[in-house]
Symmetry: C2
Subunit: 423 residues, 2 copies
Amino acid sequence: MSEWKNLTKSELLEMKSAYDKKYEEFKGLGLKLDMSRGKPSPDLLDLSVGLIDAPPTWTAEDGTDARNYGVLNGVAECRRVFGDLLGIPEDLIIAGNNASLELMYNAYMRLYCFGSLGSKPWKDLPNVKFLCPSPGYDRHFAISQAFGTEMITVPMTADGPDMDVVETLARNDASVKGIWCVPLYSNPQGVVYSDETVRRLAQMPVAADDFRIFWDNAYGVHHIFEEHEIADIFEYAKAVGNWDRIYYFFSTSKVTLPGGGTGMMAASPANVAEQLRHMSIQTIGPDKLDQLRMAHYLKNAEGIRTRMRMLGALLRPKFEIVLDILERELGGTGLVSYIKPKGGYFIAIDTLEGCAKAVVAMAKEAGATLTGAGATYPYGRDPRDTNIRIAPTYPSTEELGKAMELLCLCVKRVSLEKLLAEK
Amino acid sequence: MSEWKNLTKSELLEMKSAYDKKYEEFKGLGLKLDMSRGKPSPDLLDLSVGLIDAPPTWTAEDGTDARNYGVLNGVAECRRVFGDLLGIPEDLIIAGNNASLELMYNAYMRLYCFGSLGSKPWKDLPNVKFLCPSPGYDRHFAISQAFGTEMITVPMTADGPDMDVVETLARNDASVKGIWCVPLYSNPQGVVYSDETVRRLAQMPVAADDFRIFWDNAYGVHHIFEEHEIADIFEYAKAVGNWDRIYYFFSTSKVTLPGGGTGMMAASPANVAEQLRHMSIQTIGPDKLDQLRMAHYLKNAEGIRTRMRMLGALLRPKFEIVLDILERELGGTGLVSYIKPKGGYFIAIDTLEGCAKAVVAMAKEAGATLTGAGATYPYGRDPRDTNIRIAPTYPSTEELGKAMELLCLCVKRVSLEKLLAEK
C-alpha cells in the first residue's frame, strides 16, 4: 500500500465514502469496549488468588507479632523479596501498603513541605520545575500539577528521555528539581531506557542540589515478548556520589492483585532515614499482615519471575492482536507510527498531527473507550495532538479485536479528512 | 493516712530511708517492664485472628472485583459497618487502610498545602495556631508540630477541654484553626466529653472560616467499667450550619488487630468530595481485600459491640490492678490525683508539681518503662511537670502489679525529696 499522503483527491474521496459506511455499521453494533485503563483482566487476577489467604504465620522471622503495632519500614521478609528481585539491600527498602503511587505522592509532598537533606522546601521557592518525559504516565503529572510544579515536556526517544534535552535543562536551571521516569516498558510507549540513558540520568551534573529522579519501575518484571533488564541506577549514582538523587519505586500491584498488593520505595541511607522520620509522624506503620501474605506467597525473586512468565503468556495474545491489527490495517499507510513494546502494559500510537483527539472521540461515539487524548502529556495537552494510548490488558481477546478494528477505522477516517483538507 | 505535706521533717526522713531501701531492692530484681505504649497484649489479639483469613468472597456486594483497581472511598459493606456503629451515613464515610493516624495526617497536610473549601492554605499564612487539650495524645501534637503550627495548650476538665478557654481563643483569633479531640475515654486521662462540651465545640462561634475539629474517636467503643456514649457532633454542627467544621476519625486498630485494621474518616458532603479529589491524585485506592475481610468478619455494629465486651473483660483486671495499687499505695497521701477511667486504653496520674520527670526516670532506672514525662503535652513540655501516662494493656497482670508497685514507690521517693526540700 502506498502512503496515503501520496494519493489523489479522488482516491481519498472514494476511500472516505467506503470508511464512512463501515463506521456507520460499527455504530449500529452498540459496542461497549474499554481500552482506557491499565487494569488486569480477571484471568490475570485468578493466577494470584492464593495471596488472599492467611499467611502461614503471623510471627515475622525476627519474632515481631505482625498483628500488633510497629515496624515502620515493613517486615524484613517482605523487604527481602523486593531486594532479591531488584538487587537492592533490604535495609534501603521501605515496604508500604498497597499503592506505590501513594509512596511517590508522599515523597513529593515531603519535598514540597519540608525539603530534603537540608534543602529548602519547594513550597518556599518562587518556581519549581519538573521534567516530564512525554508521552508519559498521567498520574505522575497529576502529582506535579497538584503541588503547583511547572511541568516541562521532554521528548521520548527509543532509548528513553532525550538526554541532551534533560542534561541541558538540569544543568542550567536550579529550579529544575527532578524528573519522572518509568525506565522499563515505559507507560505508554513501552520504551526500554538504554544503559547509557540510565548512566547519564544518574551521573549528569545538575544545578539543584535537591534534584530527584522519581524512578517508577512499575513494569520492572513485566516481560511479554523479550526479557529486558534495566541498568542499576543506584550503582551509577553511587559511583559519582549522586546516591541521594534517586527515589526508586516498585509494587506488586501488577504482579499479584492491584486491590491488595504491596508497594515499596528504595533510596540511599540518608534518604531512607529521612523518609522514616517523616513517616513516624504520619503513620503507625504499614499493614504487616499483608506484607507477610506477600512474602510467604511470592517467596523470592524466582517466585515473582515464574509468576510473571505466566502473566506474560496471558498478555502476549492481547498484545499480538493489537500489533497485528495495527500492522494489517495501517501498515504502510503512513498514518501512524509506534514502537512495538517488548513488555509492560501499554501500546501507544502517534497519528498524523492534529488527529488524536478526533480519533478518540470518534471511537468513543461508536462504543470504544480509550484513554483521553492528551492524557499522556503534562496538563493533558499533547502539543501535536498525535498520541493515543492503548491499554490491552483488561478486555477479552475478542473484544480487543473488535475495538482495534474500530480504532484503526477511526484513524483512517480522521486522517482522510485531514488529508482531504490539505489537498 | 494523713496527707504527706502535713508530716514533720523527721517523719518524712524516716519514711525516706525506708523507701530508699525498698527502691534498692527493686533495682536488684533486674525487672524489664513496659507500660509505655498503648499496645494490645497477645491475648487481646488472639480474639481477632479470624480477621486474617480470606474473606468468603472477593466480589463486593455491588459487583466490584476487590482484587482489581478502583473504589477510592472504600467498599460499601465496610463503610456500612462503620456507619452502623457510629450512626453516620455510609456515603459520608471514607474507608482507608490500616492507620487512621495517616488519615488525620493527610487531612492536616491538605489544609496546609491546599486549604479547604476555598480557604487559604495554612502554609501561606504568617501564623497558624491549633488548640491542644492537654494532657493529650502525643502523635496528634507531633502532626501539628511537623507542619509548623503553633500549639496552644488548653486545660482538660472532667467534662472535656475547658470550653471557656476554647471558645475565647477560637472566637477572637482567626489564626486559631482547629482543635484536637479524643472525645470518649480521652488519651491519657479517660475523660468522657459531656454533651454540653460536644455541643459547644460544634456550635461555638469561631473567627477562622476553615476551623476544623479533628474528632479522633479512637476509643469510641472501648468500654471497660461502664458503657458511655458520646453525643453526635455532626448533629449539633449541622443544626447551626457548621457541618464542614468536623473531621471525624475512627479505626478498628484497637477493635481487631493494629497490624491489619481499617481506618476511616467521616465528614460533610463538601469535605468528603474535597478529600476524594485530593485522594484521586495520591492513591489508586485502599486495600479492598482487607476491607472485605473487615466487613465480613465484624459484620455490623452488634458484631463490634460483642467483641468489645470480650476485650473489655480482658482489660478490666488490668485497669483494676492499676487503680487498686494506686489507691492502696497512694490513697490519702495527697501525692497524686487522677480520674478513674470508665474505658479506653490509659490511666493518667498527676504528681506533685515538678515530680513527673524524676519519677519516670527513677522507674526506668529500676526497669519499668513509662511514656516519657511531658509527652502528653505540646512540644513534649508539661509546664507543671506532673503528668504521667500509664498504659496497662500490654503487660501481663503480674508484670503490671510489679510495675505499679515500683511506680508508686518512685512517686513516694521523689515526692519525699520535694517535701523535704520545702521544709
